[in-house]
């Protein structure tokens, strides 16, 4: 359904041109959920904005394409793009409080979307009611203002709005980051149950691997503007084949090993206004060699069996032997080793 091909998205900034998204290729099929995982600043939000067509004024698509059911959205004019917005592709933003206009009621804001895309809709109010029921909110409350809702309810109202026009693709940008753990669980459960009812596919963007593990079919791991590994959830979480992915998993607590210390990857992501040649993870990678610093690796199949599990690492063949056994030991990631 969605095929992003070799997408380059840049920002103009006072420091020069920032290459926020560099050569990203991902695909999302009908009826499946894809998770994009990465730390802050890796470019996943930019990728989301590019797909939704809401890049800020200093951002632009430099090259590549975003094909949605055969049409390249990047090549469309603003007016043509508008027809896809919300009706085909909608979003659930990170913070519902900030994403809702405080001076209009929820009903008014949902109907605004309906009026734009379906001006001849005879009964927009019924859509509002139907959506509210779907997310478990009392439809009578749709006439209230955002500040009158609690945090969790606002998020549900946001979900209701995103579903209003029956979109084929929903983009969830950090849907649970602003919520506490209990609400996270509720929202995720609700999203799962709704997906059973409707036909949308979902692109979930988050830094929380646990969310991805629970809701997605496939995962793409992003670092410094590039996709470094992709595969099914089982493949990635079962046996990752990229040093960064392994490091990422260490940063999350393991229920089975409650006493284990969390290990973080030392160092910082590179400055995307001046990206390094070669592999962008090289200076933080315990397995890096000179080849890594010279040449940028491409996404290649990990093994002969699974064609859909790919990793961008020169040494993915050595991961089984060299890195995976000691990936969960702190010394593996210490400063000296990775310098």
């Amino acid at each position: 359904m969605l095929q992003v091909n070799d997408l380059d998205v840049n920002y103009e900034s006072s420091e020069g041109i920032v290459q926020a998204v560099d050569g990203v290729t991902i695909e999302l099929n009908e009826g499946e959920n894809l998770g994009i995982v990465g730390e802050s600043g890796c470019g996943k939000s930019t990728l989301a904005k590019a797909i939704l067509g809401v890049l800020p004024s200093n951002g632009y698509i430099n090259s590549g394409s975003i094909e949605f059911r055969g049409t390249n959205l990047a090549s469309l004019s603003t007016r043509e793009q508008r027809e896809y917005k919300w009706e085909e592709i909608s979003m659930i933003p990170q913070s519902a409080m900030n994403a809702l206009d405080p001076v209009y009621t929820i009903r008014e804001q949902i109907i605004e979307a309906v009026d734009i895309h379906r001006p001849d809709e005879p009964n927009p109010d019924s859509i509002v009611d139907e959506m509210f029921n779907l997310v478990g909110l009392d439809p009578n409350r749709a006439d209230q203002y955002p500040h009158q809702f609690s945090g969790g309810m606002r998020q549900r109202a946001m979900i209701a709005m995103s579903l209003a026009l029956d979109p084929a693709l929903i983009l969830a940008d950090e849907p649970t980051t602003a919520l506490d753990v209990i609400m996270q669980d509720q929202i995720l459960n609700r999203i799962s149950s709704i997906q059973d009812d409707i036909d949308s596919s979902m692109l979930i963007i988050t830094h929380d691997v646990a969310v991805v593990a629970e809701t997605c079919d496939r995962v793409a791991v992003m670092y410094a503007g590039e996709i470094v590994e992709e595969g099914t959830v089982d493949q990635i979480f079962g046996k990752a084949y990229h040093p960064y992915t392994l490091g990422l998993q260490n940063a999350f607590p393991n229920v089975n090993k409650p006493d284990q210390d969390l290990i973080s990857i030392p160092g910082y992501p590179p400055n995307l206004a001046d990206p390094p040649t070669g592999c962008r993870f090289a200076d933080r990678c315990p397995m890096a060699t000179e080849e890594c610093e010279q040449e940028s690796p491409s996404l290649n199949q990990v093994d002969a069996v699974n064609a859909d599990h790919r990793s961008a690492c020169h040494h993915s063949d050595r991961i089984d032997t060299d890195l995976r056994p000691k990936a969960q030991q702190a010394e593996t990631w210490s400063e000296e080793v990775t310098q």
């Binding site: 909608s90 933003p93 990170q94 001076v103």
Partner: protein, 324 residues
């Protein structure tokens, strides 16, 4: 607290503030250097009349008695009598206040409409040449002394081009009508054009800058972005969402500006020879006509405080987040 009880509470505060103003005015006029009786006794009175007034106002009585009588007379609507013309001060005010109100409210309307609209565009198109020039014009309007702009306007449009009359509220020979009749004549509006433009040029900057500042805050908000994702047109976003949210601080400023309109603008009124209340106040002060000065001061301050109150209430009506 419901909206009603909040309104009542604010009304009570209003009364208290006005009382404080009245008291302050009373005392300040009496502690000024000079003959204290000069504030009550007109220098034009003969001995008998002076004695009468001394008794009425209790000039020789202790201050607090004078104060009580003062408050009493105000509550009766008696603001005293002009030294100059012996008219009741209230009448003097009613003669000049409407003239100012017509002029100032029109100018405020023009200034705020233009200012707010330009402010919306300036805030929306940040860092564009349009925005920079708009700000420059706004600041320039504020930098020219209003009376100087008035002189220039009269010189260019009145003397040089002869398009508009140069002074006064009505042409010579056309007087004698009441204001309500005058307003309906074209001549009156011809006289209004220059002063309104001069005043609007001066007042325009403030709402423009406030609106722009407000817009800049709003433009970065997440809900603006979401509207784009929904496919709302840029124009609709600018007006329906951004401006609507940015309006809130401007509403307060507008209500207060209306309050200040009641004070007239002594400089512009003087240059144009407009018989307004700003000029009346200054004339009264210069002539030592203290009852009139005091009365005008009081009425003006009361209106300003009242409009502050209105501003608060109106704001709550526009912003659904405000709870009382």
């Amino acid at each position: 607290m419901s909206k009603l009880s909040y309104a009542v509470k604010r009304l009570a505060e209003f009364v208290v503030t006005v009382w404080a103003l009245v008291t302050a005015i009373f005392f300040s006029f009496r502690v000024m250097p000079g003959d204290p009786t000069a504030y009550i006794l007109s220098p034009y009175l003969d001995a008998e009349a002076r004695q009468q007034i001394i008794e009425n106002y209790g000039v020789n009585e202790p201050l607090h008695i004078q104060y009580m009588k003062f408050i009493e007379s105000i509550l009766n609507g008696n603001l005293g009598y002009s030294f100059h013309s012996n008219e009741p001060v209230a009448e003097v005010i009613l003669t000049y206040l409407p003239n100012s109100l017509v002029l100032m409210l029109t100018a405020t309307l023009v200034a705020y409409t233009i200012g707010i609209t330009l402010g919306v565009y300036a805030g929306w198109n940040r860092d564009s040449t349009g925005e920079k020039s708009v700000i420059f014009v706004a600041l320039t309007g504020r930098s020219f002394p209003a009376f100087w702009t008035a002189i220039l306007a009269i010189w260019v449009f009145g003397a040089y081009l002869g398009w508009f009359p140069m002074t006064g509220m009505s042409s010579i020979g056309g007087g004698g009508q009441s204001l309500s009749e005058e307003i309906l004549t074209l001549e009156f509006w011809r006289h209004m054009v220059l002063p309104v433009l001069v005043l609007a040029f001066y007042y325009m900057g403030y709402p423009l800058l406030i609106m722009r500042s407000s817009m800049l805050d709003v433009v970065g908000e997440e809900y603006i972005n979401l509207c784009r994702a929904k496919g709302v047109s840029e124009r609709a976003i600018m007006f329906k969402h951004a401006a609507r949210n940015a309006m809130l601080p401007t509403i307060t400023a507008t209500a207060i500006a209306i309050g200040f309109a009641a004070g007239g603008n002594v400089l512009v009124e003087t240059v144009f020879g407009w018989p307004g209340i700003g000029r009346a106040l200054v004339d009264a002060v210069l002539r030592r006509d203290y009852p009139v000065a005091q009365g005008i001061f009081f009425v003006f301050s009361a209106i300003v405080v009242f409009m502050n109150l209105i501003a608060d209430l109106v704001y709550g009506w526009f912003d659904p987040r405000v709870t009382y």
